[in-house]
């Protein structure tokens, strides 16, 4: 960081600390010199730890830091050109476009199932788009804020076709590969307990490790989100040798998340996602977005920034949503390109279709 920025930030942080009466009272009241000395150190200590608004941080830095998986085809994985691609990667890019109007202004930072939360909490990334399940404990206790759902998923099982198993309830005594530190780990224990059958857990760290152990026969079953299974199956040398069982044992709403307490930044990420969903609802695509600028539908005009000043409210440029649709596309375009039926993952829209089309994808109105 540039030296002058450090001093400016120090000043801002110092003022922030001054306004925090709780801490101030403890340290600045009283004549004791030692106390005063301590108070200076205390203010400095807080100064180095606290942060100003994330949006300002991102703008000052000039690019977005986005936490993604270590590689899950269709969600976030480097493509043939080494560019990050996928549904989650598009989410990151959409936020970068909203802030900078440039889809390349994003640094992808890989995180494992375990490292993702500390990485976000410590401020090493500005947001996570890492097929992370929205649960009450993560939302409340871990101090994060889920801003929406960009993929409705559920936990499933994948087995070798040769195993001759047709239902997960037949898996008594099987060895199950399971990513540690995930909600799937807890669902798995619940499912087997509920059905009164036993299993042996083989804990693994990454999707690749799970793949390796399953393909080597160290475990009989691999369990993770159904989308992840499709992704793993698509990456096998012979996908027909693997079968995804019909049981879906959990709700896994996957969505982007930010740190608790920075509502301005949360709004930017939330509405970047909503803008893509609303664009699909309104039939605005990356191809027709320029023509839609002269549409007669009021909500389209509001979305594209022709009418109203929604961009300003978010402290973004007024064409932020236009740029997202132009450079990334609407939700449907992103879905079809990354995980849809025409991709190796072959995941039908299902729950992820718009609410008007039999799914549960729903964004609040743009007004």
């Amino acid at each position: 960081m540039h030296k002058s920025i450090i001093w400016i930030n120090l000043y801002i942080w110092y003022r922030e600390a001054i306004f925090e009466k709780r801490y101030l009272n403890n340290y600045l009241n009283g004549e004791n010199n030692m106390k005063k000395l301590l108070s200076i150190f205390a203010v400095l200590a807080f100064a180095f730890s606290a942060n100003a608004g994330t949006l300002d941080d991102v703008k000052n830095r000039g690019f977005l830091k986005c936490g993604v998986t270590t590689g899950l085809a269709g969600f976030a994985a480097p493509d043939d050109n080494g560019e990050w691609a996928g549904l989650d990667a598009d989410m990151c890019r959409a936020v970068a476009v909203a802030v900078f109007g440039d889809r390349s202004k994003v640094e992808f930072i890989t995180t494992t199932g375990k490292s993702r939360f500390p990485t976000l909490a410590s401020g090493e990334v500005d947001m996570l788009a890492r097929n992370t399940t929205w649960t009450i404990s993560r939302d409340v206790n871990l101090g994060f804020e889920f801003v929406g759902v960009n993929f409705y998923d559920g936990q499933g099982f994948m087995v070798p076709s040769a195993l001759g198993v047709s239902s997960a309830t037949e898996l008594d005594g099987a060895t199950v590969c399971i990513q540690t530190g995930t909600t799937t780990e807890l669902n798995l224990a619940d499912f087997f307990r509920l059905n009164g059958i036993s299993y042996e857990a083989l804990p693994i760290e990454t999707n690749d490790e799970g793949k390796e152990n399953l393909f080597a026969g160290r475990c009989d079953v691999y369990t993770t989100d159904a989308s992840g299974l499709s992704s793993t199956r698509a990456a096998a040398s012979n996908p027909d040798k693997w079968k995804v069982l019909p049981e879906i044992i959990s709700k896994e709403p996957l969505g982007p998340l930010v740190r608790h307490g920075d509502h301005q930044w949360g709004d930017v990420v939330r509405w970047s996602l909503n803008a893509m969903i609303i664009a699909e609802e309104l039939g605005v695509t990356s191809e027709n977005v320029d023509a839609q600028m002269s549409s007669n539908v009021p909500e389209v005009l509001r979305l594209l920034g022709v009418e109203g000043n929604y961009g300003e409210m978010l402290e973004l440029s007024n064409d932020w949503a236009y740029q997202i649709i132009k450079q990334i596309g609407n939700y449907s375009e992103s879905y079809e390109a990354n995980v849809g039926p025409d991709t190796p993952l072959e995941i039908a829209r299902g729950l992820n279709a718009l609410w008007t089309q039999g799914g549960i994808l729903y964004a609040p109105p743009f007004r």
Binding site: F41, A45, F48, F192, G217
Partner: protein
């Protein structure tokens, strides 16, 4: 005479002043760390406290040879399972590394050129390749073993596959208690015989066959009793049922990989320590003992080893500590040790990072200090005693 600098020229004052300064700075630094941490925790709305230890874990641990673990058990139990698994691989690893290290250290000094060179290559290879790579290497070899359905069968009772080594499990029936008592009594009496024999030899010079009589007491007497009681022990054989073997004893490839990598890696260091220890005993000692007509094995046992141990034990202690701490690498292959279970999964499911890490660190510290404590006692007992 005192100079104009007054107090500062006073040695006593100076030393107190600087020591107070150091303590003060340290306390200030500590205050810094604690206040920053608690401020940040509060700012980020992260709950703190120890109550999570009583919450049900919600996940399963399949490798828990000593405690039965269910997903409804608490995080505290996850901790105990982790500690026991860490101790299991550390203790077995230390024993194997010591035996292997002593043998290799002696072989390295052998006059047989080929043997000595082979050990040299082994030592250089295994202590210069990172341990993590060795663990992963062993694990990737082990999961290339046949699949569970095509298990290799050895002697009709052992099954080897990439799910582990299955063997029959002994089941002790009620009468077996007497055999156990017999073994304990035999151990105590051979210890007493040993003491008596030594005293008698010191006094009269007469020797007593301590070794063979102890063997007879410890093995043959309980064995006879075992048959008299009608063999109160049976075996539970592993059987292929569904997806896996049921019953029997199983040693998982994760454990085998950790055990092999840790003991082979550490044995290389120990063998060098043993070699240094033996070489530190001056040549004159060996020549002198040969001159008074001692046998080769006696020279080693009575003259060389006791003197070498004084050099060997202190660095050996630090190898034990290293091995124990290195066992935390088990996470690389999914071995359910302390770091993997409590410091990993529990930490991640509860989000109580500082508490979990503090407990894990305190645990490693106590294990290490305990090892040091006992090794120091042993070290004192073998030191040269002046009479």
């Amino acid at each position: 005479m005192r100079s104009n600098l007054g107090f500062f020229s006073d040695e006593k004052f100076r030393s107190i002043f600087f020591q107070t300064l150091v303590v003060g700075l340290f306390a200030l630094g500590l205050f810094f760390v604690i206040s920053t941490t608690s401020y940040n925790l509060e700012k980020r709305n992260i709950a703190t406290g120890w109550s999570f230890l009583q919450n049900p874990a919600g996940f399963d641990i399949s490798f828990s040879p000593f405690l039965e673990f269910k997903s409804t058990d608490t995080h505290l139990k996850v901790y105990f399972v982790g500690v026991l698994n860490t101790l299991l691989v550390s203790v077995t690893g230390c024993i194997a590394a010591t035996i292997l290290g002593f043998i290799l250290g002696i072989v390295r000094l052998s006059s047989n050129w080929l043997l000595s060179r082979l050990v040299y290559i082994y030592v250089e290879f295994s202590r210069n390749v990172p341990l993590l790579l060795q663990i992963i290497l062993w694990y990737s070899i082990l999961i290339q073993l046949p699949r569970v359905k095509q298990s290799l069968q050895v002697l009709d009772v052992f099954y080897i596959s990439n799910r582990g080594l299955y063997s029959p499990r002994p089941i002790f029936e009620s009468g077996f208690l007497y055999v156990l008592i017999a073994i304990v009594l035999a151990l105590i009496s051979s210890f007493l015989i040993n003491r008596w024999a030594k005293k008698r030899q010191d006094k009269t010079g007469q020797q007593f066959p301590v070794f063979s009589s102890s063997i007879g007491l410890i093995f043959i007497v309980p064995l006879i009793l075992f048959f008299i009681l009608g063999s109160p022990m049976s075996f539970e054989h592993p059987e292929m049922k569904g997806f896996n073997f049921k019953g029997g004893l199983v040693i998982r490839p994760e454990f085998i990989a950790m055990f092999l990598a840790l003991s082979i890696y550490t044995a290389a260091f120990i063998s060098e320590i043993v070699r240094a220890g033996i070489m530190s005993v001056s040549k004159g000692q060996r020549e002198a003992s040969a001159a008074i007509g001692l046998k080769q094995t006696w020279i080693m046992r009575l003259i060389i080893i006791p003197q070498a141990l004084r050099v060997i034990v202190p660095p050996l202690t630090s190898q034990y500590l290293n091995l124990t701490k290195n066992s935390s690498l088990g996470i690389a292959v999914g071995y359910a040790d302390l770091v993997h279970g409590f410091g990993g999964i529990s930490l991640n499911q509860t989000g109580q990072a500082i508490e979990c890490m503090a407990i894990v660190m305190a645990t490693y510290l106590s294990i290490s200090l305990t090892i040091s404590f006992f090794m120091n006692i042993y070290n004192r007992s073998i030191q040269f005693k002046e009479k």
